[in-house]
């Protein structure tokens, strides 16, 4: 039996397989979650994973597009399940492509959470837009930001912040300093959201930017509290979904007994 978690986010679709085999893979979400779900299905087949002998939980904004899922669960619950495995008491900060959430986990279950309201500043999208403007990809932006000293970018709106960046570009400011300013600005917004919920001693960062040490450090500095990037943090939602798929079976077995 395999337990598959599929997390279709706004930018990337993450898949975690547990059970007979352990596999992780990621695909770009593209412009149709239905096509993405189909591509995932093909990938699973190519990897020799039979859906007939699997339980599938889908999550993320594209969760309803996964027509072969046994259950849909929101990404908040899945992220929490993915993190609680290692940290049963913690605060999770998940910076996604289109939203950011902070989740408080007590004894392995969600006790409270917050999501940002209809605004892309403080999400991965913000960094993507700015990286584009600086002619590099996201990983490269963080790389050069290490060497810069942050320029102020204070707009609360991604579009206005982009014009701030353009002003800095126009004034011939060093690219490293602009990049550092971008990271600083997102970190401040993320920390602002996280700070609205009572923080646990253990604060964990997940999402597609969690492999960048500078990001966790910058958020930690703003929060005044260390932030630990979760290993494989990009897969936290998919991994949690796979764990929840496993529990689906346990529950079913208990009922049958």
């Amino acid at each position: 039996m395999n337990y598959i978690g599929i997390d279709i986010g706004s930018t990337a679709a993450k898949v975690a397989v547990l059970g007979e085999t352990q596999q992780y893979f990621v695909l770009p979400t593209g412009w149709s979650s239905i096509d993405t779900a189909r591509a995932i299905q093909e990938q699973l087949q190519q990897r020799g994973i039979s859906l007939d002998e699997s339980l599938v939980v889908s999550t993320g904004y594209g969760r309803s597009a996964v027509n072969f899922a046994d259950k849909q669960i929101t990404e908040i619950t899945c992220h929490a399940a993915g993190c609680a495995e290692k940290y049963p008491n913690c605060s999770v900060i998940d910076v996604g492509g289109q939203d950011t959430k902070t989740i408080r986990i007590v004894d392995g279950v969600v006790s409270d959470f917050l999501m940002n309201d209809k605004c892309s500043a403080g999400t991965g999208k913000f960094i993507e837009v700015m990286a584009n403007r600086l002619g590099c990809d996201i990983d490269h932006l963080f790389e050069i930001a290490e060497r810069g000293s942050a320029l102020p970018i204070s707009s609360l709106c991604t579009v206005f912040a982009e014009s701030e960046v353009i002003n800095h570009v126009g004034a011939g400011k060093p690219r490293e300093d602009i990049a550092a300013g971008v990271v600083d600005s997102v970190a401040a917004k993320v920390a602002g959201l996280a700070g609205r919920l009572a923080l646990s001693d253990q604060v964990v960062l997940t999402g597609g930017l969690s492999h960048l040490p500078l990001f966790a450090q910058s958020i930690g500095k703003k929060l005044g509290h260390p932030v630990q990037p979760l290993e494989n943090g990009r897969y936290a939602g998919a991994y949690g979904a796979a764990l929840l798929a496993q529990r689906l079976e346990e529950k079913k077995n208990r009922k049958e007994k």
């Binding site: 904004y61 669960i73 929101t74 908040i76 006790s111 409270d112 959470f113 999501m115």
Partner: protein, 380 residues
């Protein structure tokens, strides 16, 4: 069961269609020369127009259809309910507004009271000065506003509101309130006897009924039938809704919640907030009794607002609530500030999970609401 008794789903859909059907009733009313009073808010003491022989109808304010027209005059960054109220009036798309002989407003929030100034350009509107505290002085001011409304109604409808007529109106409205309470109290059953969507559709449709005696009888019958039918089969977490009026957002909010929970209690304007308290029918001074009853409504425009807290505490207990969802309409300042105090009371004092969502009449945030509210119910 006799064949003349309607099936419950038909009763629910009849109530949900009530608003549309009443357009025709309103037209009939006008043809017969009966006066109609348009209301925006539950602070209007409905007994007074009733005693003047007029029917009271809620004016349209719950869809985003006319918001673009409203935004030609009003700022965009304003509560959707205020914009929609004005938009429907301005574009003449609300038949109730069209048929109303008089519109009555109250100085509840700043946005509304300024909007009424615009509205008065094309419709006679009587604005009552609602105080924002519940002190004795406030009560006296509000009572004097009731007398001023009485005079305005008498003058417009060429009639006299006698003590006798007013007391009869009070008794009738109380009867309707009792039947409403009887109806929504059935949701205290665990599991409830109907979905929150069915329950809200009835609460939402009831104010569009003009035949109040029949309405009260039907609601009482409906409650009895629900008790007889008993609980729905599956147990799910029990949700209480509080906050702003939800007429314009209930579909997306309730359906997101009811994927894995039941909305069993409504503390909002359309629910218990403006219904749960009766008017003292036997009071010596019926005007004071009326003024007191209406001033007691626990709206966030009051400061402080202890009655909302008391009602919430009681409902959370009576309805065995697992989670509280507060709905704040965009830019509603008083509810949005007060939500922090509600969160404190609900989570710290009562240990019940709480979430507040901010939304408007558009469908743009449907997916986000499904995630947010879905995660909230999964957590319970």
């Amino acid at each position: 069961m006799g064949e003349y008794i309607k099936e419950l789903p038909d009763v629910f859909s009849e109530f949900s269609e009530q608003r549309r059907q009443s357009f025709l009733t309103a037209m009939e009313y006008k043809k017969q020369g009966k006066p109609l009073v348009g209301a925006f808010c539950t602070y209007l003491p409905m007994e007074l127009p009733l005693a003047a022989g007029a029917s009271v109808v809620s004016l349209c304010s719950v869809s985003d259809e006319t918001i673009p027209a409203a935004e030609q005059d009003l700022p965009r960054n304003l509560c959707p309910l205020i914009k929609a109220s004005y938009g429907f009036a301005k574009t003449d798309k609300c038949p109730y507004f069209y048929f109303s002989d008089l519109v009555i407003g109250e100085t509840t929030c700043d946005g509304k009271k300024k909007m009424y100034e615009f509205l008065s350009q094309f419709k006679p509107i009587h604005v009552m000065e609602l105080p924002h505290t519940q002190s004795e002085q406030a009560l006296q001011l509000w009572k004097s506003e009731l007398y001023r409304l009485k005079a305005a109604l008498e003058e417009r409808f060429h009639t006299e509101i006698t003590e006798e007529k007013l007391r009869a109106a009070v008794r009738l409205r109380n009867q309707v309130r009792r039947s409403m309470i009887e109806f929504y109290d059935t949701m205290q059953m665990d599991p409830p006897p109907m979905s929150g969507m069915d329950c809200y559709n009835v609460l939402n449709g009831a104010p569009f009924r003009f035949d109040l005696e029949n309405l009260a009888k039907e609601l009482t019958e409906l409650a009895a039938r629900l008790r007889e039918r008993g609980s729905l089969p599956e147990r799910k977490p029990r949700i209480l809704l509080t906050g702003c009026p939800i007429g314009g957002v209930y579909k997306k909010v309730i359906s997101a919640l009811e994927q894995s929970a039941y909305v069993v209690a409504f503390e909002n304007c359309g629910g218990a907030k403006a219904t749960h308290e009766l008017v003292d029918e036997d009071a010596d001074d019926i005007y004071e009794a009326l003024a007191r009853r209406y001033l007691n409504i626990g709206c966030s425009c009051m400061t402080p607002n202890p009655n909302r807290m008391t009602l919430l505490r009681k409902m959370i207990e009576d309805y065995k609530i697992d989670g509280v969802v507060e709905v704040v309409l965009q830019t509603c300042l008083t509810y949005s500030v007060e939500s922090g105090l509600i969160r404190q009371m609900v989570t710290k004092d009562l240990g019940v999970p709480y979430i507040s969502i901010e939304t408007d009449y558009s469908m743009a945030d449907t997916a986000q609401l499904q995630t947010r509210l879905g995660a909230f119910t999964e957590m319970l």
